[in-house]
């Protein structure tokens, strides 16, 4: 049959698993029509007069359906069928990694809907609604600036997810201090301490996202272990951004990570990127003829040579 001119495309949403009836525009129930699905002819078994009936639709039913009216078989109606689900209760999480500047809220749906969803978020604090600046899609995230600090009033965040098949919302409330979670420390470096077979010097920096270390100092949590052992050792440090590990196993490679937390509030950051280091070990002596003679005598008498204990001079970093 000949397929004439263009026609406006309508959109029809249908829920997964339901039966769908598509009308051929305004034609009579008993008009002679044919239907195609994505340009493939559909046989008469799907027709109920001029209507197209699709049973227990699934995602594969999504697509463009076109109805042609006889006897000229011109395009009478086009409909884009979108099969999906209404949104389930969205999951929203708010966090401040740059306290006290502000916090962001991010959200997602627990399961896909297969059609376009829109999200609307409202943030209320002390009975006032606060603007949540949305980031560009597809990032489901927005940012709220703290206007006050040390607030005893809770923040209430309500997120509504909607699509043509339905909507659902979630409300969470929290105290300002509960959502503070810094980013991990940055530039973690671990180095051996010369002439010390059991020490490692670890240093790091504040996360660059933390805006005011002077007013809001962080404390740190260091964990370290030799690669050959699974058990971590931990040490908490309330000041400073470096630490000397003094009980490392000589000659063993270590893995080290650091986490951060506000001194008073909130939760620990994720662990930093892991760094590796091996404590200092004495350089093997060069075996010259002279040395070899002396060495042979020494080697035969002591099987275990204790590395020389060097007294650290004041200028070295010492662990008081």
């Amino acid at each position: 049959a000949q397929r004439p001119s263009q026609q406006e495309t309508h959109i029809h949403y249908a829920q997964l698993g339901t039966d769908v009836t598509l009308l051929c525009g305004s034609v009579d129930q008993d008009a002679a029509v044919t239907w195609t699905a994505n340009s493939t002819d559909l046989d008469a078994s799907h027709l109920n007069g001029s209507r197209l009936v699709l049973r227990n639709v699934d995602l594969s039913h999504s697509g463009q359906y076109t109805c042609y009216e006889g006897p000229s078989w011109h395009v009478k109606y086009r409909v884009n069928l979108r099969v999906g689900l209404p949104p389930k209760e969205p999951i929203v999480m708010c966090r401040s990694n740059n306290y006290p500047n502000g916090f962001y809220c991010s959200w997602h749906l627990p399961s896909p809907t297969y059609i376009n969803d829109t999200f609307n978020i409202t943030v209320v604090h002390d009975s006032k609604e606060i603007v949540c600046k949305k980031e560009m899609p597809p990032k489901n995230r927005c940012y709220i600036q703290f206007l006050q600090v040390f607030s005893t009033k809770k923040y209430k965040v309500t997120l509504t997810a909607s699509n043509p098949l339905g909507s659902s919302s979630t409300t969470i409330s929290f105290d300002e201090f509960a959502i503070v979670k810094p980013d991990p420390p940055e530039n973690v470096v671990a180095k051996p301490v010369p002439n010390n077979a059991r020490r490692l010097l670890v240093s790091w920096q504040y996360p660059s996202s933390w805006p005011d270390p002077d007013s809001f100092p962080l404390k740190f949590f260091l964990r370290y272990r030799p690669l050959i052992i699974d058990q971590w050792q931990h040490v908490e440090l309330s000041d400073g951004t470096s630490h000397i590990i003094t009980d490392a196993y000589a000659g063993k490679e270590y893995i080290i990570q650091v986490a951060a937390k506000d001194n008073d509030i909130g939760t620990w950051s994720d662990w930093s990127v892991a760094v590796h280091a091996t404590p200092w070990t004495e350089e093997p002596k060069h075996l010259t003829t002279e040395a070899q003679g002396a060495e042979t005598t020494t080697a035969s008498t002591s099987a275990f040579v204790v590395p020389p204990t060097t007294r650290l001079s004041d200028s070295d970093v010492t662990d008081r």
């Binding site: 206007l147 600090v149 001194n263």
Partner: protein
């Protein structure tokens, strides 16, 4: 020697102590006060409790004197209220009594410490505002609401003080505290 470090350490100690005390007291008040999402309106007595909440720019701009004075004024009130809570607590709860009394004594120590540092830095003490402190009456729902807000404000003030005093200990060298003491004939 009244050092800012000791004041800061005492604040951190009180912060830690209050977590336990607040949980115990709210459990004594019972539901809904001990439920995590309880967020009552702030009415009548609770309005009198000095709020730690402050505009962020304003807080940054406070000088040392203003910071210390705000803390001093707040704890003067909070301590008076805390003592009424202690007296209103039934005698049948000795443990709670002891915790409240111990905490009040420590808070008195902090108040004295703040006053000492202010004097040593040459600042005059703020005159406590004659705000109304609720009298001891039977634990009505409204009185419980006041207690709830008192504990929450106290927790927030200690959190704010820790930031204030941490900033202070970095800005004011110990010697400045000593010099001023000597110049005032201590």
């Amino acid at each position: 020697r009244q050092s800012i470090q000791q004041m800061y350490d005492l604040t951190r100690y009180l912060e830690h102590q209050l977590h336990t005390l607040a949980a115990t007291y709210l459990n004594y008040l019972g539901p809904p006060f001990n439920e995590p999402d309880f967020d009552p309106p702030r009415i009548i007595g609770a309005k009198a409790v000095p709020s730690a909440t402050v505009d962020i720019q304003e807080w940054h701009s406070l000088n040392d004197n203003a910071r210390l004075a705000a803390n001093y004024q707040a704890y003067s009130y909070l301590l008076r209220y805390l003592r009424t809570m202690d007296r209103a607590t039934p005698a049948a709860l000795p443990t709670l009594h002891h915790s409240l009394a111990h905490f009040s004594a420590s808070l008195q120590g902090l108040l004295g410490s703040i006053g000492g540092i202010m004097a040593s830095l040459g600042y005059s003490l703020p005159t406590p505002e004659p705000s109304v402190v609720p009298q001891i009456d039977p634990p009505t729902f409204l009185r419980k609401m006041d207690d709830f807000w008192l504990l929450k404000e106290l927790q927030t003030w200690l959190w704010r003080s820790a930031k204030d005093f941490n900033r202070l200990r970095k800005r004011v060298p110990p010697s400045a505290v000593m010099l001023h003491l000597e110049s005032r004939g201590f």
